[in-house]
Subunit: 227 residues, 2 copies
Amino acid sequence: MKSPAVVLLSGGLDSATVLAIARDAGYACHALSIDYGQRHAAELAAAARLAASLGAVEHRVIRLGLGDFGGSALTDASIAVPEAPTEGIPVTYVPARNTVMLALALAWAEVLGARDIFIGVNAVDYSGYPDCRPEFIEAFERMANLATRAGVEGTRLVIHAPLQHLSKAGIIRRGTALGVDYGQTVSCYQADEAGHACGVCDACRLRRQGFAQAGIADPTVYRKSHT
Amino acid sequence: MKSPAVVLLSGGLDSATVLAIARDAGYACHALSIDYGQRHAAELAAAARLAASLGAVEHRVIRLGLGDFGGSALTDASIAVPEAPTEGIPVTYVPARNTVMLALALAWAEVLGARDIFIGVNAVDYSGYPDCRPEFIEAFERMANLATRAGVEGTRLVIHAPLQHLSKAGIIRRGTALGVDYGQTVSCYQADEAGHACGVCDACRLRRQGFAQAGIADPTVYRKSHT
């Protein structure tokens, strides 16, 4: 029997690749999406399609009114999504997002008796987002082992971040080898209802560059092209 | 100007005491309740009353479908609340609850620019719940400092658990000295809509004993008395 794992699945390129990696490693994947009030709801529709096409055992969406807190361009309509690279922590950073998502994954893992949680943080992201750094993932894992029955009963919980040291191009190559259909994924911070990408936000820029560097055709429909 | 702090407020005896302690320490208290699908919704009504009477700057309730995961007598109607003490981790344990609540508090703290988070875990609880142990709180604080802007920008975030080493009687004495009206709090795992306590669950038993040991009159309305 396959071991259960909880896989955080946003519907983007990274988490789709992680789901393919977890399945390839032999886990029975329980995909978890968080509807934290994000602008790009097209991602959630993408997540449902990807969970099905990448063989997840089940897919759950947890609604969470994180947008009520404000503070991010991704959940607060009064903050504009930047259309050019910025310095420091981007305004698209959602406060404590990975902490909240991993905490919810941990809750579900405990109920399922799963000892493995997968998340798609990567080297490109952790230049700007504090909760994408390897030392954050390690500290979360340590905390998780103290927080749960696992910690009391001596079974070790592992947070897997298999993209951590990969570039966007490396992620795309890996996922393509595992059969991910990137046409089903949505990365854009301001995708329209059909899932079509703006072509100019940070996420579109990194995605486009990634496909170019990987030498793989980009299946994304962009509304605008780069100038 | 007072420093802002996020105070987790369930509406129970412990978190009401924590709110009084945080206010007494001079913080501008932003009270946060999580509606995680708990059976005892009377607690949320109590939280709103307490936030007002204990001078919180604001009170927010975040809805979270944690009950969808099941696995706890507090969120899963198919698991009975025990009416006598049990061995080991109680079935009323909500998986990863304190991790999830602290993660949400962390998100709000980051938006507010608050460096202080208060939670009402205590010595009585950590005999049974893994996420009430001091080593869990320490590990969460360490992780939180890596997860957020604070970690990047060098301001230190502190998780305060001022009840950690207090008995229930000690908590009641402390809160009474600070003017907490415990008649406004609801501890019972199966309180009715009016907030009246069952009188026989673990939470009622500990509460009743606490008042008796503190030598303070118990304002709670119990539906059943102990046999």
